[in-house]
Symmetry: C2
Subunit: 464 residues, 2 copies
């Protein structure tokens, strides 16, 4: 018999408790031990919960609970008291299962080291992409391969909002309100729409994929609040969809650049004098509509992986929801229980890599730039000249003239707002691959031209 | 240091050997032990191979090689001598990694039992869906969940052929020839196009998903040789695509039916008097075009899983190819090596389930039936009457009249062949869910009508 302590009884925790009680026989058959739910630590025993659970299981004394358990499931979220309770559980020899991406991104290495030193298993499948088994495949199934790139839709709230904007032509604010109404977005949506939640997951994905520890400060992060209906409609016109992607990719950086954004010690220096590193970032991204990730609709999540031998892989499923996330938690619980029954220590990660974290300046992608320009002869030539001077090569340029539309009524039939000045033109430029630095310099120079009303958007393009 | 013996050096084996030699440092860092390729057993040392490998590694004495290894990788395929060599490796205490789906489907239980008894790990990720990590997620990540249904595109050859037929209008024979020309189909394509390869994989998927051993004889198997361009074009007209699916699903069977097709002992008998069991089958299937599996093109594989808690999951990637499959083999090798280094026995499977294998008669799905009928008044009524008498409910009926086209020139512009008699009509009927038995009786009765020239196709529909 194994004692299982549960910390937290919200959306996910109450489903975990229900399954532990309800499916006890099946879980016992699969693990070789009965999993006894020894207690549920909560702040308020009388709070309303989704699932009816025996009152005698509840306690407010989490500290006592974790000192007397074989497996501790931490679903409190946030840094404290989660961190202290997990460390106490490890000290007392318990295996730990957590879904706490914020804590892992902030202080994962401390937890991993303590767990390894104590010989206990620390697992966290639920921390990234909810129900989708993604961390174990990366850590175990692809352990004999070399991952080169990870592209993930790992935040359901923002995917729902962008999908709404794409399918209905809604502006960001309206789509956010709809997401809040349907329960896909919280009252304070900051962590989701500013990309912070995706950034924590990106750090975890990058750490496991590249066998190197990446912290939150290694992740370049941009949210979706500045994405407009006009951006999405312009993207659609050229066969693209806009997704908030968590990206981790191995890059070669030419010698002479100073790309490092904090990061770990000991860079790989390939023999050509260049430097290899990993860029970890979150930003709105144009993806071709035929890319497998482009079809991921609503609040679903998916992670697309490119590996040297395996080629392209994709993992798709529900990224949130109490019951779905409980599936990932229980997979980790069964794994911990099997190991406790059969013997053998658990390894939480392998950090054998020496790759550096790269700053956003080291990244080369294509860009889609939106400009509100004066509608007069010679404009295109002057803008093209600025690109050419900075070696940024233009792939396509598309001009839409809004000669007769006053700015205040420029909302189109589709509900999109062109956001342009009357008597002006809207210009959309897609570049070939260029460095972030060259692109930024070009955009800065363009912004200073007298013929430019405004730079309406600068978005990166992936998957082409 | 761990000695790794490789049996077989074909398409996959030569890539496995290359990676073991070439990436030795990275593999050592990830496992905590150096993996020394101790030898490669082949029939002919002088055969031409894709990869240049040190000649001194080769031997024709496989029996000697397996008795002196920590990890044995079996990539010979076929039943013997693979079976004898694996059993010998297990007896000598080696962990075994294999991609041999035919052997596992034919005699897996013997191997699993011997491995468990010897406390060695037997893993076979490469046996199903090539590079896609699917078996480990099912066995470990979803171990705390209850899988209810698995739908897999697990044979790249047939998916390529059906995709060609769908996108070009080609007939089966022409698409097969094209697949052979491109190396996606073998000179003797029987195992692929008759569904045998997919059936072996279905048995393995079902066994892991439902914690019960299913053998090849529990799998109902139909190939794609009778799928015509007309079927595919008719499916497209109503928003469907035809895929060869490997299906394993839990079903409730009403009391009184005698659905069992061999299968394991000890059925679950739910309290309502009905019987629960698992249907494992392979057949061409109509899928709605918006289903995630419908977008799986060319020779790619994907497995779609429905689980009680996790909801819908999909795993997508390359199903074949030497390098891609080598990724799965090496994942298993690293896992075996980690376990040898860190201690603890390996478990190959958990067979705690008592569910029965159901025969195809227990299955209820929708059907799409193609009929070549006389073009005369009253035909539809007579046919509809036969459906009604057998409680098979019709969802849609579509009639296409070919009054003026002689049979011998009925090839249409798109290259599809209508396959109908002149002066006749083509009828496509889609039913609501019906039992296989009721449907078969209906089709038999229809076939006897004088107004029927022929029953051109009977296809099942999933995902609606």
């Amino acid at each position: 018999m194994l004692r299982v302590a549960l910390l937290g009884c919200g959306n996910v925790g109450s489903q975990v408790a229900r399954i532990l009680l309800h499916d006890a026989d099946a879980l016992a058959a699969r693990t070789g031990a009965r999993l006894e739910l020894s207690g549920i630590a909560v702040r308020n025993i009388d709070a309303r919960r989704d699932v009816e659970l025996p009152r005698e299981l509840f306690t407010t004394d989490a500290s006592a609970l974790v000192t007397n358990a074989d497996i501790v499931i931490e679903l409190l979220g946030g840094i404290e008291p989660a961190r202290t309770l997990i460390l106490s559980a490890i000290e007392h020899g318990a295996c730990v299962v957590t879904g706490n991406k914020a804590l892992l991104a902030a202080d994962g290495p401390t937890l991993y080291e303590k767990a390894d030193a104590a010989g206990v298993q620390l697992s966290y499948e639920a921390a990234v992409a909810g129900a989708i088994p993604i961390l174990r495949p990366i850590r175990d199934s692809l352990a004999g391969d070399k991952i080169t790139r990870v592209l993930g839709i790992v935040n359901g709230t923002t995917n729902f909002i962008l999908d709404q904007m794409d399918s209905t032509g809604a502006q960001f604010d309206d789509a956010l309100t709809e997401a809040q109404r349907l329960g896909y977005a919280e009252a304070d949506p900051t962590a989701d729409v500013e990309g912070h939640d995706a950034a924590a997951k990106a750090a975890i994905l990058a750490s496991l994929s590249f066998h190197t520890r990446f912290a939150l400060e290694n992740v370049h992060c941009e949210g979706i609040t500045s994405v407009t209906a006009a951006d999405i409609s312009a993207a659609r016109d050229v066969g693209f969809v806009i997704k908030l992607l968590a990206i981790a990719e191995k890059l070669s950086v030419p010698a002479g650049m100073v790309p490092f954004d904090g990061g770990t010690e000991g860079a790989n220096v390939p023999s050509d004098g260049g430097t290899e590193g990993v860029s970890v970032r979150v930003h709105p991204t144009l993806l071709p509509r035929e890319h497998p990730l482009a079809a991921v609709r609503g609040a679903f999540n998916a992670v697309f992986i490119e590996a040297e031998s395996a080629g392209e892989l994709m993992f798709y499923g529900q990224g949130a929801g109490g019951t779905a996330t409980a599936s990932a938690v229980l997979g980790d619980v069964v794994s911990a229980a099997r190991r406790l029954v059969l013997g053998g220590p658990g390894r939480t990660e392998t950090t054998t890599g020496q790759v550096r974290a790269l700053g956003i300046d080291a990244v080369q992608t294509s860009y889609c730039i939106g400009l509100d320009v004066a509608d007069q002869p010679g404009v295109l030539a002057r803008i093209a000249q600025l690109f050419a001077e900075r070696q940024v090569s233009i792939e396509t340029m598309k001009q839409t003239i809004h000669r007769d539309i006053p700015a205040s009524t420029s909302r189109t039939a589709a509900g999109t707002e062109a956001n342009v000045t009357a008597g002006s033109a809207e210009l959309r430029i897609v570049t070939h691959r260029a460095s972030e630095a060259a692109l930024a310099a070009t955009v800065q120079a363009i912004g200073k031209l007298d013929i430019i009303n405004s730079v309406t958007s600068v978005l990166r393009v992936e998957g082409v």
